[in-house]
Amino acid sequence: MEVVGIFENLETAGHAVKDLIRAHVQEEDITSLTAVPYPEGVLVHEKDTRSHLQWFALGGGIAGALTGFGLAAGTAWLYPLFTGDKPIVSLFPVGIITYEFTMLFAILGTVFGMFIEMGLPGFLFRVQAPEVTEGMVGISVLCATADERGRIRELLLKAGATRVRTGGVRK
């Protein structure tokens, strides 16, 4: 379950996060919803900021290189047509096709990896807070039980939340 408190500005939201931590809420359960990216630590500290995006790009690139090579050189081999005593697989053109496919798949891999890492697309089980895109700041807390949800709701309201939204079924 998720509780999202909507705050007017960055300062009150920041204080609310401090209050939550003081009330023994795990910091990894807290995240911020903002219309603008703030540098790490302005609102919350993410526990695990490692990203594997470059590996997705690299993996895509390798897969693309193999595909491009397989397509250009492989098909020339499978369906040989002898033209004017030129070699069946000519390296320069194969290199160009390989390059294009490498880049294409690297880009596809990056986008694919991005959505995986973001956990998107996600429509269900998430509290949507339209106020956020209008400049408000949301503080989202994940909680396990209904009791806890009530407690956090109180905490957020006390910290100055103008509104609290709850929802979601997953922890």
Binding site: W55, G59, G60, I62, A63, L66, T67, G70, L71, G74, F105
Partner: protein, 177 residues
């Protein structure tokens, strides 16, 4: 731990490659179009039975399709050839009377073509016959068909398959010019 990750990474990469190549290599089967959508066994103006003539009576293909060995086209027999036998044989049957009418009126029989290659594909019957590729290899067992049916795909891949198998020329200008 580190090794497992590398293995998973490489497996993923190879899987992606394999899937893409498979999709590319199989697009042709996903969007498969037959070479010809014409009726495989069209009705003919006269119910001529190959089973009866070539099968039961054992008349050789080249008796009627006379130019097959010497020309590009196998040739469809003219009405005179039909009549040369049927003046006497079964002349009183209704089908033969139909045939005779074409003779009397001096019209050719409008046979419906079953095996049609596009105009840009040239198939010399004589080269195939003389190379030992007999009628049935492409036309099927016509001697068992009442009405002739097209059994072969007649698309380019089908031609090429056979040419590769028999190390015949696969030069484009062999068939296209």
């Amino acid at each position: 731990m580190k090794n497992t990750r590398v293995v998973i990474f490489l497996a993923f990469v190879l899987l992606a490659t394999a899937v893409t190549l498979l999709v590319f290599y199989n697009l042709g089967y996903i969007f498969y179009f037959p070479a010809s959508s014409d009726d495989r066994s069209p009705a003919q103006p006269i119910a001529f039975s190959h089973r009866l003539h070539a099968g039961e009576r054992g008349i050789h293909c080249e008796y009627c399709h006379r130019s097959a060995r010497i020309s590009s086209t196998a040739g469809v027999p003219d009405v005179a050839l039909c009549r040369s036998c049927h003046m006497y044989i079964a002349a009183d049957r209704p089908v033969i009377k139909d045939l005779s009418r074409y003779w009397i009126e001096g019209r050719p029989i409008p046979w419906v073509r079953v095996h049609r290659l596009p105009d840009f594909a040239f198939f010399p019957h004589r080269m195939h016959l003389n190379a030992g590729v007999y009628c049935d290899q492409c036309h099927g067992n016509v001697a068992a068909m009442d009405r002739v049916e097209r059994v072969s795909g007649l698309n380019m891949g089908w031609c090429l398959d056979c040419h590769r198998r028999k190390s015949a020329s696969i030069d484009c200008w062999t068939c296209h010019r």
